[in-house]
């Protein structure tokens, strides 16, 4: 059985990447809360993760020798692909200067995102702990 760390860590590491990217987008929204004409954006997490996962099998290294290790299914999708899933927010209350940032909504989303990020970190930490205890044989 081929043992890949990427496989072992599973979906958590990809979710972590998307969460950190989403935090960036939301921070951008909050920084531009007073910029005229700025349109708030967000990442569709579900679609992004789907795309991220499907990217896993698409990207493979070329093997020219039978001894080369087949990389299929081990390389995670590129994080930049996730950007394709960015959507503009639909403003609840349009403002005269064309800005669609709702500070409170963005703050709540940022907080939620930070919590989810930490949740994924927790999962990853647990897995590392398991791995360590298995290696030590305790």
């Amino acid at each position: 059985m081929q043992f890949g760390l990427d496989k072992f860590f599973g979906i958590s590491q990809q979710a972590l990447k998307i969460h950190s990217r989403r935090a960036e987008v939301l921070a951008g929204n909050l920084a531009n809360a007073d910029t005229p004409g700025y349109k708030a954006r967000d990442i569709d997490f579900k679609a992004a993760l789907q795309q991220f996962k499907s990217g896993m099998s698409d990207v493979t290294l070329r093997t020219t020798n039978p001894n080369h290790i087949n990389s299929a299914g081990t390389s995670p999708g590129r994080i930049d692909d996730v950007l394709g899933e960015m959507k503009y927010r639909i403003p609840g209350q349009p403002s005269l200067d064309g800005n669609t940032v709702d500070s409170l909504k963005e703050k709540a989303a940022f907080m939620e995102n930070a919590l989810l990020y930490q949740t994924n970190l927790q999962f990853l930490g647990g897995k590392i702990k398991h791995l360590k205890s298995a290696l030590k044989g305790e």
Binding site: A23, G28, L30, S103, K107
Partner: protein
């Protein structure tokens, strides 16, 4: 790494809001600066914000904010008849800035709230960073 970008973005937001507070302070301080002509009287100043596209690294995910410039308000200045004033012109008029106290106070509160938001974002990001660094320990 996108967590680093967040610090840049939050930093740009804080610096922009600090500049906005700066103009507000200047406007409030000069609210009663008298002049004897309408041309050289102090006018309220406001910063113009715009989003920074692609300036922060190559990833266009989050965008920072920048101050494009500072514009002076074109609202008419106040003209007051005070012949006894040392700055009064030949007709006995003095000119007062077009600073609106109420607007400036509202502006100040809005700027300080936005500043707080950005600083909270930076703080949360720092916590996420520290958690990530201690992963697996």
């Amino acid at each position: 790494m996108s967590l680093f970008n967040i610090l840049d973005i939050a930093g740009s937001g804080m610096s922009a809001q600090a500049l906005r507070l700066n103009t507000t302070a200047s406007n409030l301080a000069n609210a009663e600066s008298v002049s004897s002509t309408g041309a050289d009287v102090y006018r309220a100043r406001q910063p113009v914000f715009s989003a920074v596209m692609k300036a922060l690294g190559e990833s266009p995910a989050g965008v920072g904010v920048q101050v494009n410039g500072i514009v002076e308000s074109q609202a008419p200045v106040r003209k007051q008849y005070e012949p006894g004033h040392p700055m009064a012109n030949g007709d006995g008029y003095i000119f007062l800035p077009n600073v609106s106290m109420v607007e400036e106070m509202a502006n100040m509160i809005s700027a300080s709230r936005s500043y707080q938001t950005n600083s909270e974002v930076a703080k949360t990001t720092k916590q996420l960073f520290m958690r990530t660094l201690s992963l697996g320990q």
